[in-house]
């Protein structure tokens, strides 16, 4: 096995709370250049975007891979994607999230075309509706989607839009398409070689590209083949991890690096009541990853699980 850098507990807790982990510029330029070479030359405007897309995909050097293939067998060893997946930081993130031998689910080259491609056909150039990938998925186990940005993404290019903290909401794919803007939404404007690891449930959509260049994003979905339990570097879990701390009436700001704080930090879009349900669901996911039902953060689950059975009757 090659070298890998596992995620820390803080990174894992952040993934549990927010549903994504962004690693800027972790892929070296030579791999980025190799990937763009393997994708092939950008098409010229004129034909329909759908036809150009088909031409781009069929002409690219990215292989077709059967769903369910071991990820380790999905790409030729010298290909750019294989080199990305073998970077220590990428191996470590994958192993921390879905284990050492995940399955390949699917991949896709997302290309967002500049306005002239739409203007040439008299079509509107609009962003992609907000959606959750795949279909209704109520599992506690989760898949990971890796988004790879082989070139710098500028604000004019739009970037992928994602809404932190939405991943634990059980919705049906494009049913959320009517939500145009959500407080706290992020646009992935990033340097070349950036990777974003997503929980499969996060709400997202492609931003509109108003630049003169094509925007590329390569996405790989992978499935765990083992129970996702303590797969990350747990050596930094503090000794008081299972202890409760004062809540509501506080005299000092809570430690922002504490797992408890990370799991109970709201997103700007949280509704007053369901924001609390988000905390419960995050804590349940953290329990699942720890493999320990004793964990709680700020008493949210302990309170509602308290059903005493002891009797004062003699």
């Amino acid at each position: 096995m090659s070298e890998r850098t596992l995620l820390s507990s803080r990174q894992m807790a952040t993934f549990v709370a927010r549903g994504f982990l962004r690693l800027d510029a972790v892929v070296p330029d030579d791999i980025n250049e190799q990937f763009l070479d393997e994708v092939g030359r950008p098409p010229q405007p004129g034909e329909s975007v759908r036809a150009l897309y088909a031409k781009l995909l069929s002409g690219s050097g990215i292989p077709t891979v059967a769903a369910g293939t071991p990820l380790a067998d999905a790409y030729p060893p010298t290909s750019a994607v294989s080199r990305v997946l073998h970077l220590p930081v990428v191996r470590g993130a994958i192993e921390s999230l879905v284990g050492p031998a995940p399955r390949f689910d699917h991949h896709f080259l997302h290309v967002t075309f500049p306005p002239e491609f739409y203007a040439a056909r008299g079509l509107p150039n609009v962003s992609q509706h907000t959606h959750q990938d795949s279909t209704i998925d109520p599992r506690r186990a989760f898949d990971v989607q890796i988004m790879y940005y082989p070139h710098a993404v500028t604000p004019e290019m739009g970037g992928t839009r994602l809404v932190p903290g939405t991943h634990l909401r059980i919705v049906s794919e494009a049913a959320i398409g009517r939500y145009q803007n959500i407080r706290g939404q992020q646009h992935i404007v990033c340097p070349a070689g950036t990777l974003v690891f997503l929980h499969h449930g996060i709400w997202h959509g492609g931003g509109v590209n108003r630049s003169a260049a094509l925007r590329y994003m390569f996405k790989i979905r992978i499935n765990p083949t083992v129970r996702q339990q303590r797969l990350w570097d747990t050596s930094d879990l503090p000794n008081d991890h299972f202890e409760q701390r004062p809540i509501f009436l506080l005299k000092d700001a809570p430690d922002p690096n504490s797992v408890h704080t990370i799991l109970t930090t709201p997103e700007p879009w949280f509704e007053a009541d369901t924001g609390r349900l988000e905390y419960l669901n995050r804590i349940r996911l953290w329990r699942y990853l720890l493999g320990d039902e004793r964990f709680d953060a700020d008493y949210w689950l302990t309170r509602i699980e308290n059903e005493p059975t002891a009797s004062t009757a003699g």
Partner: protein, 104 residues
Amino acid sequence: MQQVIAFAILRRLMKRQQVLVLYLADSALDSHVVAWSQWDGTGRREHMAGDAEQPPYSTGLAALRDGWRLIQMAPLQPHAPGAEFATAYLKYEFVFEQWIDIDV
């Protein structure tokens, strides 16, 4: 009478609907906006996903006071047994409209 009806129909034809959907933090119209969407039947503006970082109004009440007409609010539903902690779609949806004169 026919002239009055014809005039009313003509007036209607010269108007287009704008729709504003605000998602609020709780069921009160004066709670703050957490998400929003707009569609403009006049064709003057193309709203789309991800096109704004700040909502057009801070609360639903602010939209009312600016002349938007509330036409629907999400009902409060009891929680299904066994699914009390499930989260899914945004819960407090308020739909507003305006009718805008257009040149025909």
